[in-house]
Symmetry: C2
Subunit: 250 residues, 2 copies
């Protein structure tokens, strides 16, 4: 199987990935928070790209089963029920709910890749499930890092290292022949060089320092907990749901 | 000094870099070929983004002092005098000439960054001169990798490693305090992990394999020869010239 890595979704044309299998990676924090929400019994997460679209869509759904979630500049959006901290997506808040969800990078990356043949969502908390899924499917796959819209030309170190960890784990299965693009080589190299301590990586990263500064230091520990939320969020039509059979035992 | 790295110029807005100091990096092959051309006595290199613009511009210049150079898909463009191999930019061809120049990635990256406060061009062949220049200026700088338009979401491994080598050398000067963005950390990590053998890196890279397949294997050795063409191409207005005092002794 061929594995390619996009370090940013910025230059993806919406139709470009139509025949591709895609894994969208967003460590801080959408990938983690959506895994938490679905693991805690949310019915579905509906990613949208703008606050306006989120408000409009939520208005057309039944009020008692829908929640608005997401962030701008890392903070909860005015009038929304939930921000973007995985600690907010608890069972008592989200069970049975549809969550209309918009974030700066993660939901945008999902929107850009939504016409892909398949799309699953990855972060460190569910990386084992994602690797298992890729190993079973043996399909050529593009790992799309949600990246950052604001800094460093779209690059996000923690997403790149997560892509590298996926590749590293895939290559450990000797039955799987993995052919890497140059960006795949780069991601693997980054993981092997600086991916030993994910917690430290997140704490020292630019978004990690920003999140700590605005009061979300505790999130970094959650987001660094490898394989702590072993679920597989997949995009079906325009909503993210758990792959049947991959629900957590909550 | 702060060093940031953009792994692709794709999402640069043309005016975004106006107050920034920029180093454009294109190892395969524009950065190398332009260094060769200027080192071999070309008066100037005029980067343009399209073949049409190149033809139009060259028509408005005096025929005997202007050459058309560049590539599409790695190959010489029909009607052009020179392709994009550094081996074509010899003294007997280019001395005293203005070269109107268009390539898929390199000249495009220069065009995108042309409103920067300062712009110099780097590749392995002139990396020492670039580092010396940065060290003297001590200015915050963005290293913009020309990258690839066709594959891997714009990422180019050899440009990223070259960025990392620039950072590595800057950090060796203990008088220079270097503050890195996350992408800077990534570039430095890539250089330190897989930058020991540049020749091997280029031969095994995606563009390197492509260039070898279309008959430009010899170029890879030229492009891998660290500090072999110690000149500093700088953008003045819309043309690249050698920084006074950095001409080679040719």
């Amino acid at each position: 199987m061929k594995i390619d890595v996009y370090f940013t979704p910025a230059q993806i044309d919406e139709l470009q990935l139509r025949e591709k299998n895609v894994v969208v990676i967003d460590v801080l924090r959408a990938g983690t928070s959506i895994a938490a929400a679905l693991s805690n019994g949310a019915k579905e997460v509906i990613p949208v790209d703008t606050v306006e679209a989120a408000v409009k869509l939520s208005g057309s759904l039944f009020g008692d089963v829908v929640l608005l979630g997401g962030e701008r500049m890392g903070k909860i959006i005015q009038g929304f029920h939930l921000g973007n901290s995985p600690l907010e997506y608890l069972k008592e808040s989200v069970k049975g709910k549809s969550i209309v969800y918009t974030t700066t990078n993660g939901s945008l990356a999902i929107m850009k890749a939504r016409y892909a043949r398949s799309l699953v969502l990855a972060s460190f908390v569910n990386i084992g499930r994602v690797v298992e899924y890729l190993k079973e499917g043996k399909q050529d796959t593009i790992l799309v890092c949600a990246g950052s819209r604001n800094a460093a030309g779209g690059f996000s170190l923690e997403d790149a290292v997560c892509a590298g960890m996926i590749i590293h784990r895939l290559k450990k299965f000797e039955l799987t022949e993995v052919e890497l693009s140059d960006s795949g080589v780069a991601a693997l190299t980054l993981y092997r060089s600086i991916g030993k301590n994910i917690s430290k990586l997140l704490v020292e990263s630019e978004p990690g320092r920003y999140l700590a500064a605005i009061g979300f230091k505790a999130d970094l520990k959650i987001c660094a907990a490898v394989d702590s939320i072993p679920v597989l969020p997949v995009l079906r039509g325009s909503v993210l749901k758990l792959q049947p059979g991959t629900e957590s035992s909550v």
